[in-house]
């Protein structure tokens, strides 16, 4: 009887500890979300009054009431198009190669170690690298294309690692089943593995793009401007072939730089504008996330 009592006591004590830990975890979660919520709320409350059409269609100005983010949001959008177009195929491709094709040898080991380490390199280093490599070395100049390449490079490790993790999480039976049905390696990857790993890869891509959209330092280093009262050439024309890529070579600015500049100004009215720009940046990031969740949902349904 006594032995039973003692072990029951132990169980009870363990349960109490469990409960305590759960309560502590919940409390921490609560505090963390509260801080985040507070920050977002402050941003929205201060920024919201400035969020009118004029704010989106005006160039920067010395007068807070006239200043807008036209050049900044257009620049951010165009840069992100380049980032997505470069980082997604390159990162996913590299991930597939490393996980499914590459033989285990010292060369792949080195590549692997480097990719993992690259994820921890401060972003300004990428800016300096890009300044030498893209701006002067390759002669791309201080352009949207250079900024896109730089940020793509910055998020490449994130995309590669996410792709690899997603592929690695798939059961071996899936590959073996595909091989047993006579599929070759590429067919296995394209028809079975990629669709199944899609949600994981997509999450990695979104994390990467969300990081890229908020970067300031590397973009300033490669020559992003602050005051620019004109827009890049339109990507669509009225004549054949209706698209042109001149905008890739255009000078530009991005939202985080405009925010950074406004935050450091002495006049409080500019700080509110920075909050408004922050809301826009937040909404752009959320919209990207929402799009990814939607695509993921569709992909799951198609698989199911």
């Amino acid at each position: 009887m006594q032995a039973l009592d003692r072990s029951l006591d132990r169980v009870r004590a363990a349960r109490r500890r469990d409960l305590l830990f759960a309560a502590l975890a919940l409390l921490l979660l609560f505090v963390a979300s509260l801080v985040l919520l507070g920050l977002i709320l402050d941003l929205v409350l201060r920024g919201a009054p400035h969020l009118d059409l004029d704010f989106f269609t005006s160039f920067p100005s010395r007068r807070p009431s006239r200043a807008g983010i036209l050049s900044a949001w257009v620049g951010t959008t165009l840069v992100m198009v380049v980032v997505a177009a470069v980082a997604i195929p390159l990162g996913v491709g590299a991930g597939i190669y490393l996980e499914e094709y590459a033989r285990r040898n010292w060369l792949t080991d080195i590549v692997e170690i480097n990719i993992t380490n690259l994820a921890g390199v401060p972003s300004i280093i990428y800016g300096l690298l890009a300044l030498g490599l893209f701006v002067h070395g390759a002669g791309f100049g201080e352009s949207i294309f250079t900024a896109g390449l730089t940020l793509a490079l910055l998020i490449l490790p994130i995309v590669v690692v996410a792709t690899r993790e997603a592929l690695r999480a798939l059961p071996r039976e899936m590959r073996e089943g595909a091989f047993a049905l006579g599929a070759d390696r590429w067919q296995t990857v394209a028809m079975f593995l990629l669709p199944a790993a899609g949600p994981g890869i997509l999450t990695g891509i979104i994390v990467g793009l969300s990081r890229a959209i908020g970067e300031t330092a590397p973009v300033i280093t490669v020559g992003a401007l602050t005051f620019i009262a004109f827009l890049p050439p339109s990507p669509v024309g009225s004549e054949f072939p209706w698209v042109n890529f001149d905008w890739l070579w255009s000078p530009f600015t991005v939202l985080p730089i405009q925010m950074f500049n406004w935050v450091s100004r002495p006049q409080p009215a500019f700080h509110d504008l920075a909050a408004a720009a922050g809301v826009v940046l937040l909404v752009m990031t959320l919209a990207m996330n929402a799009l990814a969740i939607y695509v993921r949902y569709r992909a799951r349904r198609m698989l199911g």
Binding site: T221, A229, P233, P235, S264
Partner: protein, 336 residues
């Protein structure tokens, strides 16, 4: 694929609504440099773009004074915003790049020493006292107010100032300590002056320094300390008038524009921009509006004359120099 479709649609909309004609190469003014000078240049650029809409274009970056000179001396930019005079190493870089420059003071920034409003004992500081507070030797030693002046209370003294990368720090150390970049390290440093404002406003024992505009915008939360002018012996409040008249010395520093003289002649845009920048009718108002101290009008006239005569070179022989009036600067001999 869906993603690209959506982004594409956004671009098409944006592009269609906002297309503008392309402008020829000589019609663009490329400016980079100090973020301190940026608000003034932004204001001029804004007016310039309104006047010459569709004809000329201006771009302004904020790589910092040093980063800007790197680009300027390679010929990447036409004009550099600088919160300090060109340095020896930068003069060499410009010489190596075959780039000459016209040095133009365009405004004054009065470095303002501030304390918490609860501080009722400091009525005036001498340069010697400031040196005693900020010198490298003071590190860990001068930590109470009565160590600065014995009849001040025995209260902790905490310091706030800009980070070592800023031109404000360079100038302040040159003026106060006597050696550019030399100061104690145990102070709260931030590149964002608004953080310094917060710090001093919330700390009764605080002393800090930054540009006049940050004080002007936070008058209720800070108190500016008059600084004794060593030449006249009088305690002078930092203010637009006192900085402009030269009475607030030596903590008034000039802000500069460096112009590549070749670009004044290659296209009409740079010349038109500089001309607008030095127009006393306009610039005095703009400089005031963004929170800096305009030069006396004579200063802008002298600067214009310097541009017309294409006088290149610097009146400074390296480093931040202290206590020169702007007219003296503009009349001084320059060296390339």
């Amino acid at each position: 694929m869906r993603r690209h479709g959506a982004l594409g649609a956004l671009l098409v909309l944006g592009g269609l609504a906002l297309a503008e004609p392309v402008v020829a190469e000589g019609d663009i003014v490329r400016i980079d440099g100090s973020s301190t000078v940026y608000p003034i240049t932004e204001a001029v650029a804004e007016e310039f773009q309104i006047k010459y809409r569709g004809k000329y274009r201006v771009t302004v970056g904020i790589s910092g004074t040093g980063g800007g000179f790197k680009k300027f001396c390679r010929g990447d930019t036409d004009i550099n915003d600088a919160s300090r005079p060109i340095k020896e190493s930068e003069r060499e870089a410009c010489a190596a790049g075959g780039v000459r420059y016209i040095e133009l003071p365009i405004a004054i920034d009065a470095l303002t020493v501030v304390v918490n409003p609860a501080n009722d004992w400091v009525d005036c500081l001498t340069m010697e006292e400031l040196r005693r507070i900020w010198a490298p030797e003071a590190q860990g030693k001068v930590v109470r107010w009565n160590q600065v002046r014995p009849d001040w209370p025995d209260r902790p003294l905490t310091l706030y100032g800009p980070g070592v990368d800023s031109g404000t720090y360079d100038y302040f150390t040159a003026a106060v300590v006597g050696r550019e970049g030399a100061s104690r390290g145990d102070y709260t440093a931030s590149e964002d002056d608004n953080v310094l404002v917060q710090g001093v406003a919330g700390d009764p024992g605080a002393l800090g320094f930054f540009g006049l505009a940050y004080y002007e915008e936070n008058r209720g939360r800070l108190r500016a300390v008059p600084v004794r002018n060593p030449a006249t012996g009088e305690c002078v409040e930092p203010s637009v008038e006192n900085a402009r008249s030269g009475r607030y010395a030596p903590l008034s520093r000039p802000l500069f524009l460096y112009v590549n003289p070749e670009r004044l002649d290659t296209g009409p845009a740079v010349a038109a921009f500089v001309d607008m920048y030095l127009d006393p009718e306009l610039i005095v108002e703009l400089v005031r509006e963004v929170g800096y101290v305009p030069l006396p009008e004579e200063g802008y006239r002298l600067a214009r004359r310097r541009v017309e005569a294409r006088v290149t070179g610097t009146a400074f022989h390296g480093g931040a120099q202290v206590g020169l009036s702007v007219e003296a600067l503009l009349r001084a001999e320059t060296v390339d």
